[in-house]
């Protein structure tokens, strides 16, 4: 049984990679039928994921599958690769496989005719592979490996239309921003490894429980925050959220898959996985980050006109919710929201894709290349033209706005209850958390309905365009319908309850409360959430209703002129701040990126023009000068005077002694005789 499960997990992991490999190497030959390869393999993956999901319901102790093999070892430093499938992972696997499959299906139509059609499916394959890797990983190292691979596939997919400068910039920005977070994660991993001695998730949890950090919980807090940095990058939390809106430069199905449902959820999933070792201090930090993100992104989303950007900021905001939920200890709620959000946000993105697709084709037929097909101001009145898209999108919008009977209500409600309970137990400044939660909920309801009304209601912007709009084909609408169905509350509560406001369905059974080994009393948290439940529900209903009501006033009935309000708000620069995303990009650009590039330019000048050319070559110069001098001394003095002096002396004597060699034999004889005389004198032989 174990080995069969192992094999299945392996298949689940590697089938998408096989799809990638086939399409990358034989993509040219396969061409237009690339999607068949991808669909088949992802389909099998989906079936396997469903199988794992089904095991969630069979009663079991501990994880469904836990196995690992040694990756490599140097003796005492050993890394393992392995699977750890528990209920959370099994659910996540299904979410990934399902949305991936639907996006594949959707893309068949959406990407038709693209010159790099097969490449697109290959990239989807490697993304699914990497994402599955994160889900299955049983150690932080393996998670980090796939974490980065997800970053790569995201890079490739955002930059899929790399001929556009904006896409090329966006993919780089996404990768680099993610890397910032990854550095933190890497350092956190190292701290954990050298304190506990392992990278394994269960090993870390056990180690913390056994007191590896006892007496040094501060370090564990820091480690937790550092590892969370990875999630900040990947899940687009403040202050690293800037990449996600730009990532909308990728094809819309990709946005649905990666930048709404799965990859950005990986950060949340990672926090879920390491939840047992997060200290209350780290969780507090996490909650604050999540709250700031949720509120700020929601405020930005109000003023955006690009349909995908609105959705992107709404994604950031919702991710903030999830992170905040985990931070306040509402572990279940956070993961629940991840799941529900994956469904309705994927649906929203695919719907927007359907709209954009229709707009694009309409504009194309009109040979209009100046109008932005993504700008909501050019839409309007599409309800009649695109009924399926409209209804799907409406359902998903209701879900995200937190309206009862829809899934978002259940999960968001639980999160808000968590924040309230957190305030109840901590008091003081923590009131910010529920305030941010409810505020963001109201704003979310407002801007989501703004989106619906601007797109589908009212008068068309231009009749000409409107006339050319058609409903998308079935390959695109089928995923929409399916995902909108999955946005219904009943899907998550059946068969335990049919009460639309009671979230205690199969999901809460499947994802029981975990123990926090780092000092958070989960029972107390659960208790608190339970108590705050009804207050939160009531409040959330009120704020959601308020948001929808204002939106109706503004955009459907147009009782209030939005532009007046915005210009009024702009007296305090509120509108500009929101529209320009709090100027965070500009601030980064101005305070970090530009100065850094300048710094690197200065560094290169220092290194080359100053250090090398002046200092190092200066030595050369000094040496040359010295050698000039010494050469001078050497030649003019040593060589010319002393060495040549000897030569000259010899020459002089030679010239003069030459005269003795005059060929006159008698002179030689005379010399010989004198020599004899000399010798005799010397030796005194007499």
């Amino acid at each position: 049984m174990e080995s069969n499960l192992n094999l299945l997990a392996l298949l689940n992991l590697f089938l998408p990679l096989v799809s990638f490999a086939i399409l990358i190497f034989f993509g040219k030959k396969i061409g237009e039928s690339a999607h068949w390869v991808a669909l088949t393999l992802i389909g099998i993956t989906l079936v396997i994921a469903m199988f794992f999901f089904s095991t969630v319901f069979s009663p079991h102790e501990g994880p469904i599958l836990q196995s690992s093999i040694q990756w490599f070892t140097t003796g005492s430093f050993t890394l393992y690769l392995g699977f750890l499938i528990n209920n959370v992972a099994a659910i996540m696997l299904l979410v990934v496989a399902l949305i991936s499959f639907l996006v594949h299906l959707y893309s068949v139509e959406y990407m038709k005719g693209d010159p790099r059609y097969s490449r697109y499916f290959a990239y989807l394959g490697i993304f699914t592979f990497s994402m599955n890797g994160i889900v299955l990983a049983d150690s932080l190292v393996m998670m980090y490996v796939f974490w980065e691979l997800v970053g790569l596939s995201s890079y490739l997919l955002i930059g899929f239309w790399f001929e556009k400068d904006s896409a090329a910039n966006a993919c780089k920005k996404a990768f680099l921003t993610n890397r910032v977070g990854d550095i933190g994660m890497f350092i956190g991993m190292m701290i954990l490894f050298f304190t506990v001695g392992t990278f394994q998730l269960d090993g870390l949890a056990d180690g913390v429980k056994d007191g590896a950090f006892s007496g040094n919980m501060q370090l564990l807090t820091i480690a937790g925050i550092l590892v969370f940095m990875g999630a900040v990058g990947k899940s687009a939390q403040f202050p690293l959220h800037i990449w996600l809106p730009d990532a909308m430069e990728g094809p819309t199905p990709v946005s649905a898959l990666i930048h709404a449902a799965t990859m950005v959820a990986a950060g949340v999933y990672m926090v879920v996985r390491i939840f047992p070792i997060l200290t209350p201090g780290a969780l507090e930090f996490i909650a604050v980050v999540g709250a700031i993100t949720a509120l700020m992104a929601a405020i930005i989303a109000i003023t955006q006109n690009d349909i995908k950007r609105v959705l992107a900021y709404s994604t950031v905001s919702q991710l903030g919710y999830m992170i905040m939920a985990l931070g306040v200890g509402a572990y279940q709620a956070g993961f629940f929201h991840l799941t529900t959000h994956a469904m309705f946000k994927a649906c929203l993105f695919l719907c927007s894709g359907s709209v954009i697709h229709a707009m694009h084709h309409a504009l194309h037929e009109l040979h209009d290349h100046d109008t932005d097909p993504q700008d909501m101001r050019f839409m309007g009145g599409l309800k009649s033209k695109m009924p399926i898209t409209y209804w799907s999108m409406l359902i998903a919008t209701l879900a995200i706005a937190g309206v009862p009977f829809f899934s978002g209500f259940l999960s968001k409600d639980a999160i808000l209850a968590g924040t309230l309970s957190y305030y109840h137990s901590h008091h003081g400044w923590t009131i910010f958390l529920p305030l941010a939660g409810f505020g963001a909920a109201a704003i979310t309801a407002f801007y989501m309905f703004r989106l619906i009304f601007m797109t589908f209601y009212g008068k068309p912007y231009e009749q000409k365009i409107h006339a050319h709009i058609h409903e998308s084909p079935v390959k695109m609408t089928f995923p929409l319908i399916l995902l909108s169905v999955f946005s219904l509350a009943l899907i998550f509560t059946l068969p335990n309850t049919v009460n639309p406001v009671d979230s205690h369905g199969w999901f809460t059974h499947a994802v029981p409360m975990v123990q926090n080994n780092a000092g958070l009393d989960m029972h107390a948290v659960e208790e608190g959430i339970h108590h705050a439940h009804y207050t939160a529900m009531t409040l959330s209903l009120i704020v959601a209703g308020l948001g929808i009501f204002v939106s109706v006033l503004f955009y459907l009935l147009q009782k209030i002129d939005a532009s007046k309000i915005s210009s009024f708000m702009n007296k305090f620069k509120f509108y500009d701040i929101s529209f320009n995303k709090f100027y965070i990009d500009e601030i980064y650009n101005f305070l970090l990126y530009k100065p850094f590039l300048g710094l690197s330019w200065i560094a290169s000048k220092l290194d080359w023009d100053l250090y090398d050319q002046k200092f190092i070559d200066g030595w050369g110069w000094i040496t040359l000068k010295l050698s000039d001098k010494s050469g001078d001394a050497d030649y003019n003095w040593l060589d010319q005077k002393i060495v040549d002096g000897f030569g000259n002396l010899t020459n002089y004597f030679g010239k003069n002694l030459k005269l003795s060699q005059n060929g006159v034999v008698q002179n030689y004889l005379l010399g010989g005789m004198l020599g004899v005389v000399l010798l005799i004198i010397i030796f005194q032989q007499f």
């Binding site: 790569l152 001929e163 890397r179 890497f186 490894f193 001695g197 690197s600 000048k605 250090y611 190092i616």
Partner: protein
């Protein structure tokens, strides 16, 4: 057979170079394909021998037990021996040298200018490199070290770019400067050890008992400094690094590959082979500085690479950065945690090998685009010779034009920035993990390199391959068969070692254990 294989590895290229002479006499110097084929076959056989060696190599055996070891008296009077041996430290380097030499001959296939000289010098260089990695006698080591210098000087100086003479002289002087210190250290080791010997295995025992001082400095300390300067220049360790960008930029493609792929490794190899086992006490005292220099290398190299607008210069600075990882990993040998020490040391040697393959790919790829476009500016400099191009992007959007080439560049760039599943990641991560166990703060600063490396690689990738196609290059041709043959083996190695590094690690680990033990015993 077994004991002569090392000798063959070294002297086969010399024989190949000698064989070229009769051919040049018989067929004339113009028939360059004879020389090319001789060089190719020679390096091919050498590579095959290296593979055979790898097959038979048993990492568990120490050098003294290994059947490959050759130990013959050379200059008996001074106790100098012809002493060759192979262990887990040198084995990856031998494989790397043989592989890169073979590939570089292929990459030099277009060389027509004085081909006889080029290929024979190249083979001599090959022999020198092989000798450095196999020699276990310090004197022999030094001889090979210097043997390799001269062909390099000519290869840069004759076949290089516009500033080739300047670059060649700079390279030569820098390296010679280091060699002098190394020579002094070598002689000091010889005279202060008892009995006088150059034998590196014997010196492990005797060198540590040196107990003398000159001018108030301990001799061991001075020897360490001398060796360190000699090796640091080769690595190159900041602040001795500035020969590298220039030499890499000016050298022909294949020589850049050898420079970055093999020559840089000699510095760290020398440290691990000589400084570490012989002077463990000094290693302990010095490791903090080593780690600091490693981190400086990582950051400084990367920061400089970001500002570069010449592709080759960027890759050259990336080498500076990547060699920093090696230093950081090596410094971890003193770590109290045995896992940390092992991770660091093994990571360092792996990084040496991996950087050799990755940077070779990078230089080969830059060379390919240079062959086609005749420039390699990411952005034309402001004082470019054609004023209408100054400040303009050099390429742009050629990703769609040359997809296969782009794919390989992406692979190489991502390997360079340490993407998991490519070999660079594992070794870099291990260096960091090792470094972290010994020097926390430093390593945390060093991890910035993860980001900085990504910045320049991705910026360059975007500027060259992404965005709208630059119309100048709409006829750019994709990679050809010979180029494919040079790049594919490296790409495969990068991928395989990224996924399954165990074969490399198993080879290295026992040797590193020995070095760690020596160093730890001096703690």
């Amino acid at each position: 057979m077994e004991s002569s294989i090392l000798t063959f590895l070294i002297f086969l290229p010399v024989a190949g170079a000698a064989l070229m002479l009769p051919f040049s006499k018989l067929y004339g110097k113009e028939n360059t394909h004879y020389f090319k084929w001789i060089a190719l076959i020679t390096t091919g056989i050498q590579f095959a021998l290296a593979l055979i060696l790898y097959r038979k190599f048993d990492p568990a055996l120490s050098v003294t037990e290994s059947p490959f070891t050759v130990q013959i008296d050379w200059i008996k009077h001074f106790n100098i021996q012809y002493f060759l041996g192979v262990d887990g430290l040198s084995m990856p380097m031998v494989l790397l040298t043989a592989l890169l030499s073979f590939i570089c001959i292929l990459a030099s296939w277009k060389i027509e200018k004085q081909a006889l000289g080029y290929f024979s010098l190249f083979l001599l260089l090959d022999a020198g490199m092989m000798g450095v990695f196999l020699a276990l006698d310090f004197f022999l080591f030094y001889v090979f070290w210097e043997v390799m210098l001269l062909p390099m000087y000519f290869l840069i100086g004759i076949w290089g770019g516009p500033q080739r003479m300047y670059a060649a002289i700079k390279f030569f002087l820098y390296t010679l400067f280091g060699s002098v210190f190394m020579l002094l250290a070598m002689l000091a080791l010889y005279y202060y050890s008892d009995p006088h010997t150059f034998n590196l295995i014997t010196l492990i025992q005797t060198a540590s008992s040196i107990d003398a001082s000159i001018w108030g400095f301990s001799v061991k300390y001075l020897i360490w400094i001398g060796l360190f300067i000699g090796f640091a220049i080769k690595v190159p360790i900041f602040p001795f690094h500035t020969w590298l960008p220039l030499a890499h930029v000016e050298a022909p493609t294949a020589i850049s590959v050898i420079l970055a792929g093999v020559l840089l490794k000699m510095g760290t190899y020398g440290l691990l082979r000589i400084s570490y086992p012989l002077l463990p006490g000094e290693v302990v005292n010095f490791s903090y500085i080593l780690a600091v220099l490693g981190v400086i290398n990582i950051i400084w190299g990367a920061v400089n690479a970001i500002a570069q607008i010449d592709m080759k210069k960027m890759v050259a600075y990336s080498s500076v950065s990547h060699m920093g990882y090696v230093l950081l990993g090596m410094a971890a040998a003193i770590s109290e945690s045995s896992a940390g020490a092992q991770a660091g040391m093994n990571g360092a040697v792996m990084q040496m090998f991996n950087h050799g393959t990755i940077t070779a790919m990078l230089f080969l790829l830059v060379g390919m685009v240079y062959d086609r476009a005749h420039h390699r500016w990411i952005i034309f400099p402001r004082d470019y010779e054609k004023p209408e191009l100054a400040g303009q992007p050099g390429f742009g959007g050629i990703g769609a034009q040359v997809p296969i080439y782009t794919g390989f560049v992406a692979l190489a760039f991502f390997a360079g920035l340490g993407l998991p599943a490519l070999s660079g990641f594992i070794s870099e991560a291990m260096c960091f993990i090792g470094g972290f166990s010994a020097f926390r703060t430093l390593t945390i600063i060093g991890t910035l390199g993860i980001l900085l490396n990504a910045i320049y690689f991705l910026r360059a990738y975007q500027r060259i391959f992404l965005g709208p196609l630059n119309e100048t290059y709409k006829d750019l041709t994709d990679i050809n068969k010979i180029e494919l043959a040079t790049i594919v083996p490296l790409a495969i190695i990068t991928l395989v070692l990224g996924v399954y590094p165990a074969p490399l690690l198993n080879m290295i680990a026992p040797a590193m254990d020995g070095i760690i033990q020596i160093v730890q015993s001096a703690l």
